[in-house]
């Protein structure tokens, strides 16, 4: 367990139907008669099909006093649809080994199915029913409401959840991204069947719908089955008046006290847009700084040299209305100050001096060489394609990506490091009982959870 054990439980695999030296994936772009666009990667080696899809929307569609509606919908769609009651629907999934899942994200509502080829007609028909005619029977609503409340109650004692909640609640204050996606205890108790139905009506629309599918399916079957599942949904997307998020509390240190042996740390500032000309330079910079795990500067300084943590990682994220560059780790309470100083030191060092030529060479070598290993199963492929679609990238991007990375120069990385890494802007979120830290703000409760005592 050198690293997080979870990475092992993921089954690595790789699918490659028509492997050519210059092509990573052979993606076909299709359009159904009703106008739905599909990206398809065919592979008939193993009788498995995976599909990923995402509707424009997500958190912003949750009414302010009914937070968590999207979440509740996501766990109720497989609890009965059309004439099939919950147990009937679940039995058809279970008895035919069909995996179907949904989740409400910050910018989109996601779904996926994975099925054996022999059960594909049934799988896509069940999906059609779930999207077009969810039942939302009262007993299913109550059951899933209780399950979600139980999840929220447990989360409130989980430091890694608390640090993420506090990070989002503080930095995105005033924007829907600050909302707890699973809702809170108060909002959960208020959601009605009508709320769920109006969410579905607003959410499941084919304008902006992205669909990707991989595995043992022909072009003709993909078109037919996807048309069957999605074509009867309304077309025009629901307009939300969401604005760009301005990150709040930049440069501040915010503490949420919790009695744990370690302090959980999330540090972040603005990142970079996906369509920025320096995106690939930023990817390389992040890899060197903290993205690569054991090869990264942060891991070397904080874990390898000093043994202050089990793991420290940085990552770039791009949302529709915001970008982030963030670092996360946990360390003993009495070592928090030292770890934070090291992060700031590395931030400044990278901003001032940039990386070395060797670091850039090694980063490119990994990022380009490992691309095949990241497309490790039919669901990995369909999931990757879906995020490329969401990022509005060209269908051939995945085949050009390595050339983009290889074209990055040391000057590019130095420039982007100077531009992004602003030590004075780093917001620090701490959950734990850190010593030798003077926070600017100490919170009593995680933000957005409505736990403040009512007077």
């Amino acid at each position: 367990m050198k690293h997080f054990i979870l990475s092992l439980i993921v089954l690595f695999s790789f699918i490659h139907p028509t492997f050519a030296a210059d092509k990573v994936l052979d993606i076909q772009k299709l359009q159904t008669p009703s106008g739905i666009e599909i990206w398809l990667v065919e592979d008939h080696n193993i009788p498995v099909i995976s599909m990923s899809f995402s509707f424009e929307g997500g958190l912003a569609l949750d009414p302010k006093d009914k937070l968590g509606v999207g979440r509740l919908v996501s766990i109720l769609l497989d609890e009965g649809a059309d004439t099939l009651k919950s147990q009937e629907f679940q039995s058809l999934l279970n008895d035919n080994a069909i995996h179907m899942s949904f989740s409400a994200g910050r910018d989109a509502f996601y779904g996926s199915i994975k099925t054996l080829t022999t059960n594909k007609d049934l799988a896509f028909d069940l999906l059609k029913k779930a999207l077009n005619a969810p039942r939302f029977d009262p007993d299913a609503i109550e059951r899933m409401r209780q399950a979600n409340i139980s999840k929220i109650k447990n989360d409130l004692g989980n430091p890694s959840w608390l640090v993420a909640r506090t990070f989002n609640g503080v930095l995105f204050e005033g924007h829907p991204y600050a909302q707890p996606g699973y809702g809170h205890l108060d909002s959960m108790s208020k959601i009605t069947q009508e709320d769920l139905l109006s969410f579905v009506k607003a959410q499941f629309r084919t304008e902006g719908l992205k669909i990707s599918i991989a595995g043992d399916i022909t072009k003709e079957d993909a078109l037919k089955l996807i048309e069957h599942s999605f074509s009867t949904l309304p077309k025009k997307a629901t307009v939300t008046t969401q604005k760009k998020a301005q990150l709040k509390q930049l440069g501040k240190t915010i503490l949420l006290p919790l009695k744990t042996p370690q302090t959980y740390i999330a540090v972040g500032e603005e990142g970079i847009e996906r369509d920025d000309k320096d995106w690939h330079a930023a990817v390389i910079m992040n890899y060197i700084l903290g993205g690569s795990g054991f090869d990264a500067r942060l891991m070397k300084e904080i874990r390898e040299k000093r043994g202050l943590t089990y793991g420290v990682y940085s990552q770039l994220s791009t949302l529709k209305d915001a970008t982030l560059l963030q670092v996360s780790l946990s360390t003993s309470n009495d070592k928090t100050a030292e770890a934070l100083n090291l992060i700031r030191q590395e931030w400044k060092k990278m901003a001032d001096k940039g990386p070395t030529e060797i670091e850039i060479k090694d980063a490119k070598s990994y990022l380009t060489g490992s691309l095949l290993l990241s497309l490790t199963s039919t669901d990995d492929i369909s999931g990757t394609l879906n995020s490329l679609q969401r990022d509005k990238l060209d269908i051939d991007y995945i085949n050009q990506r390595n050339a983009f990375l290889n074209a990055v120069t040391i000057e590019d990385v130095k420039r982007v490091a100077k531009r992004l890494l602003k030590t004075e802007n780093l917001t620090t979120i701490l959950v734990g009982t850190p010593t030798n830290i003077k926070p600017d703000i100490t919170l009593e409760h995680p933000p957005g959870m409505n736990l403040e005592k009512k007077k």
Binding site: M1, K2, H3, S7, L8, L11, F12, S13, F14, I15, H16, F19, I46, P47, V48, S86, Q87, Q90, S91, N94, D95, A97, K114, L116, D139, R143, Q146, A147, S150, I152, K153, N154, D155, G157, N158, P159, L258, T260, P261, Q262, G293, F294, R303, E304, R306, G307, L308, Y310, S330, S332, D362, S365, Y366, G369, S370, L371, L372, L373, T376, S377
Partner: protein, 429 residues
């Protein structure tokens, strides 16, 4: 140098694994997968947390970390750096029964992985400084994984109660005070004792044939000298002589949970099916009865992992719905178990569970490292290749009588460890 090659008819096997053993005793297993030019290279040692000496808990896992430090040929943490540079990902993990190291890598660099992995089987060099900082990393790891989470600490106590003096009762990561006292000497003693070709299994999944693999295995792993390996003498699992009950109240527990743990035999296909029928899906018995129909629980699950060297555990986890006490829920759960023992299961339940398990096998094929994981766990825990290759046939041949008997074996007149997690109001400041 190659002693045995198992040739089995392809049709009867799920993964088409091929196996041979080098003269020095290293078993090599290849699971061919030619969909892409990549491979998963895994080396499994038959040495895990349950093979440690008293007072040295965590040394197997500690040593796993130290294996990334360096050898004269690949010094100063260059191991993982080299894997990355070649476009691969590497890691390692430790259980009670094994320690395993792996790299997933473009096929072109598989040979380099074999060279580096065989090198560190014998040539590791450690410095005092590395020992001290890595031990500190493990202190942080233990805090992150266990000590920060009341549920995880409680689970350690349940396992200790269930297994008593048997080493399965000791956590793989080790008890904190023992982790802190581990020395270089402790680490190296175990290295010498257990790290040898005749105590390891090399598993390769991916785009290579056995004709290509054999000369490479011989070239890199062949010259390693075998050691005298002592038997893994842990004694068998100690059966409970009485019921045990443990309760934990903590302000960071959000919802009450009732846990029941029973000793169970390893490698039981019938218990895999029983767990599927009893508590593995929203359509399984416990969920249907307790959550959907009676509405006295929020969740209900069972788990049974057949792969372990000694005995294993059958566990049940249920969370009461608001307004239901743990005691009331426990009564209903016991009635469900009794009904299972009295009436067994229906043929339809069996058929559904069998189909689902066999489908899972097909999904496992849609994977590079997955099959290598399955073989590695089984073989390092004392099962053979057939156990995996014919698993689906054995699953398919089970009868309702087999399942009923398996249930009787673990539940009927048997003691259990019962764990109760309860929320506690936070103290006022």
């Amino acid at each position: 140098m190659i002693c045995i090659i198992f040739a089995m008819p392809a049709a009867a096997k799920s993964f088409n694994a091929e196996s041979f053993t080098l003269d020095n005793g290293l078993q090599v297993v290849l699971i061919p997968n030619h969909r892409a030019p990549v491979a998963s290279h895994m080396l499994w040692y038959k040495f895990g947390g349950a093979d440690e000496q008293d007072g040295k808990s965590g040394v197997a896992h500690f040593f796993e970390h130290l294996m990334f430090k360096g050898t004269p040929k690949v010094p100063d943490g260059l191991f993982s750096k080299t894997v990355k540079k070649l476009g691969g990902n590497d890691n390692a993990f430790t259980s009670h029964d094994y320690t395993a190291y792996y790299q997933n890598i473009p096929k072109a660099h598989l040979e380099r992985m074999m060279e580096m992995e065989s090198d560190r089987m014998k040539n590791l060099i450690l410095t005092e400084k590395e020992i001290i900082s890595e031990r500190q990393v493990i202190v942080e790891e233990r805090q992150q994984r266990i000590d920060n989470r009341p549920q995880a600490k409680f689970r350690e106590q349940l396992m200790a109660a269930l297994h008593g003096q048997h080493p399965y009762g000791t956590p793989v990561i080790g008890w904190m005070d023992e982790i802190k006292s581990l020395t270089e000497k402790d680490a190296l003693e175990n290295y010498k004792k257990w790290y040898a070709p005749n105590n390891a299994i090399l598993i390769i999944g991916g785009d290579i044939t056995s004709a290509e693999l054999k000369p490479l295995a011989e070239k890199y792993y062949g010259p390693l000298k075998p050691s005298k390996i002592l038997p893994r003498n842990r004694g068998s699992v100690i059966q409970l002589k009485e019921d045990k009950r443990l309760t934990l109240k903590d302000p960071r527990i959000g919802m009450p949970v009732l846990i029941k743990m029973y000793h169970a035999p390893r490698g039981s296909h019938a218990l895999e099916i029983l767990s599927e029928i009893f508590g593995s899906a929203p359509t399984s018995r416990l969920y249907k009865r307790l959550v959907v129909e009676k509405k006295i629980a929020i969740s209900a699950n069972t788990s049974y992992d057949p792969v372990s060297l000694n005995g294993t555990t059958f566990s049940i986890y249920v969370s009461p719905a608001p307004g239901t006490s743990i005691e009331a829920l426990e009564k209903v759960l016991e009635a469900e178990i009794k009904e299972l023992l009295d009436k067994g299961i229906a043929k339809e339940e069996l058929k559904t569970a069998q189909d689902k398990k066999i489908a899972a096998q097909t999904y496992a094929l849609d994977s590079l490292q997955g099959p290598a994981m399955i073989f590695g766990q089984a073989l390092s825990s004392g099962f053979d290749i057939d156990y995996i290759e014919k698993w689906d046939q054995r699953i398919a041949s089970l009868t309702v009588q087999d399942i009923k008997q398996a249930a009787k074996n673990i539940f009927e007149d048997k003691h259990a460890v019962t764990g109760i997690l309860l929320p506690k109001k936070a103290e006022k400041k």
